[in-house]
């Protein structure tokens, strides 16, 4: 006698360890198969865009720290680049080098957590997570050296950075750059050919290039689908046009490719940092701008390649000390658009893995 099943709705989250924060998925199951999914969020909504309308251009930097709090410097960078575009100024050479070093360190730190928690979700409980936190700790130490903070840095300023690098920084950074390649080798040895990882991720949630573009995905998720799009190459900002690095591209767009692209980006970021250390000029680190910036009337959209994808700020100025409107194009938020399409037809256990492979940060999704 065949057993009849009827669809049931299950709420996964908001308080579930695999949801990396407070994220809820309303999933309709037929047995163990997903037949429908709706992401529900907003639990961390703080109204950043509204708050920004009440603050001066310099004060908003502290708000941007709290978007993707695993890569605060990248958020700082995206914001100051946008304001500089509005003002029509450029930071001094040295400041741009420092910014690129910090942004790439952030990319490494963010990908380490992304990979660590992804593997955690896969069932490789705690070991890879701890390995990757060990390396991230070194990056946080470097950031602490630079600006005194470990999470909310607010280090970048409109027209430069808040202060020059301390004398001990370069030595510590070189030490990190010497050690880290061996660590990546270690991860690769442990993970790349791992049978469990491959059987759980290969061919799972394949995302075609067309679907990825149509859903406005960006960052490693887009590149894993075989789309060669990285703002650092396609629309270079700061000094990226002078640097030599490759953009890792996936072949099939499955979960395994998203994992590999992130792993390879670690190496490329390190390559960028090494070049910056070598070519770093001496000089000013900050433009002389008035404390209260009053950009001319108008609007500007500035963007950078943040660890999770394209982070953009659309700023409308009315000529006063606070923006008239500030809109944040958050990569994590938009990357979730494709979650339903990626998971329908797969099983509950795959859902956790696929969600982990998108690597979102709820601070940025909810803003």
């Amino acid at each position: 006698m065949p057993i009849k099943t009827s669809p049931i709705i299950v709420n996964i989250g908001p308080h579930h360890p695999s949801t990396h924060g407070v994220f809820r998925m309303r999933v309709m199951f037929d047995g163990e198969n997903i037949i429908d999914l709706e992401p529900v969020f907003g639990y961390l909504h703080r109204g950043t865009e509204k708050l920004a309308e009440e603050r001066t251009y310099a004060q908003i930097i502290t708000l941007t720290d709290r978007l993707d709090y695993l890569a605060s410097m990248s958020n700082n960078l995206a914001y100051v680049v946008s304001v500089e575009k509005l003002l029509g100024v450029k930071a001094p050479e040295r400041a741009m080098y420092i910014r690129v070093i910090m942004a790439e360190l952030m990319r490494i730190a963010s990908h380490l957590i992304g990979l660590g928690s992804f593997l955690n979700d896969l069932g490789a409980l705690a070991t890879p997570w701890m390995y990757m936190f060990r390396e991230r700790e070194k990056i946080l130490d470097l950031c602490e050296m630079v600006c005194g903070a470990r999470i909310t840095y607010s280090y970048m300023r409109v027209g430069g950075v808040s202060m020059d690098l301390p004398p001990e920084f370069m030595g510590a950074l070189r030490q990190f750059c010497d050690d880290f390649p061996h660590r990546i080798d270690e991860y690769e040895k442990l993970l790349r050919e791992n049978e469990i990882l491959i059987s759980r991720t290969k061919g799972v949630a394949v995302l075609s290039a067309e679907t990825a573009k149509n859903n406005s995905l960006s960052g490693p998720v887009l590149r894993a689908s075989g789309v060669n799009w990285d703002l650092r190459k396609s629309d270079p900002y700061e000094i990226y046009d002078r640097l030599d690095f490759e953009v890792p591209i996936g072949q099939t767009g499955d979960t395994y490719d998203r994992f590999l692209v992130r792993l390879e980006e670690l190496r490329q970021s390190l390559k960028i940092i090494n070049q910056c250390v070598k070519d770093m000029p001496i000089g000013e680190t900050r433009l002389k701008l008035p404390a209260l910036i009053r950009p001319p009337k108008g609007d500007a959209y500035g963007h950078v390649e943040a660890p999770k994808g394209e982070l953009g700020f659309y700023i409308v100025s009315d000529g006063t000390i606070a923006p008239y409107r500030l809109k944040i194009r958050a990569p994590s938020f938009i990357n979730l658009t494709a979650l339903r399409e990626m998971t329908v037809g797969y099983k509950l256990a795959d859902l956790i893995v696929v969600f982990g492979s998108i690597d979102v940060n709820m601070g940025e999704v909810d803003r």
Binding site: F41, G42, H45, G47, E49, K50, T211, K213, N214, N215, S216, L217, V227, W229, S234, D235, P236, D241, G298, D299, Y301, H303, E310, G312, Y314, V316, Y324, R325, K327, R329, F333, I334, L336, T337, A338, D366, R367
Partner: protein, 151 residues
């Protein structure tokens, strides 16, 4: 480097294909009639020479007299970008056609604008609040929204 298409060229191309769709155009603005927005989006996505296959961002700004919806478009194929704007003049029922059928990526972004700014995207398959809870009154990003601070 992403090449920003000249606004006047884009406006001229739209006007050729869809006469009457462009309301205003200058060196830094292409303003499209809100009723024609869906057709313009389809044109920008498919027409040769345009091929904007990637909707980078949708934003809305409240200018009190009208709401302006801003579309940042990108063509990954040609590495070109442009910006299209449209306006909704009503405050009670500011309606703009949804572009979800053209770019799926507009889905959550339009819902967010509806939630926080109160612009209604007609034809959106699932237009409901996304950040705030059901039953929340008002749209906080509007300039006339009164913020009540708990005392």
């Amino acid at each position: 480097m992403t090449r920003e298409l000249g606004f006047q060229d884009v406006a001229a191309a739209i006007e050729r294909a869809l006469p009457g769709a462009v309301v205003q155009s200058s060196a830094n603005l292409v303003l499209v009639d809100s009723d024609k927005m869906a057709a313009v989006a389809k044109f920008l996505r498919e027409a040769p020479g345009m091929e904007f296959d990637f909707l980078t961002s949708v934003s809305a700004v409240d200018y009190l007299d009208y709401f302006e919806v801003v579309y940042h478009l990108l063509s990954i194929k040609n590495n070109e970008s442009t910006v299209i704007k449209t306006r909704a003049y009503s405050r009670d029922y500011p309606a703009v056609p949804s572009v979800v059928n053209v770019w799926q990526g507009a889905d959550f972004q339009e819902r967010e604008i509806f939630d926080l700014m109160g612009v209604i995207f007609t034809g959106h398959p699932n237009l409901k609040r996304i950040m705030l809870w059901e039953g929340f009154e008002g749209h906080p990003l509007r300039k006339d929204y009164i913020v009540v601070t708990p005392s």
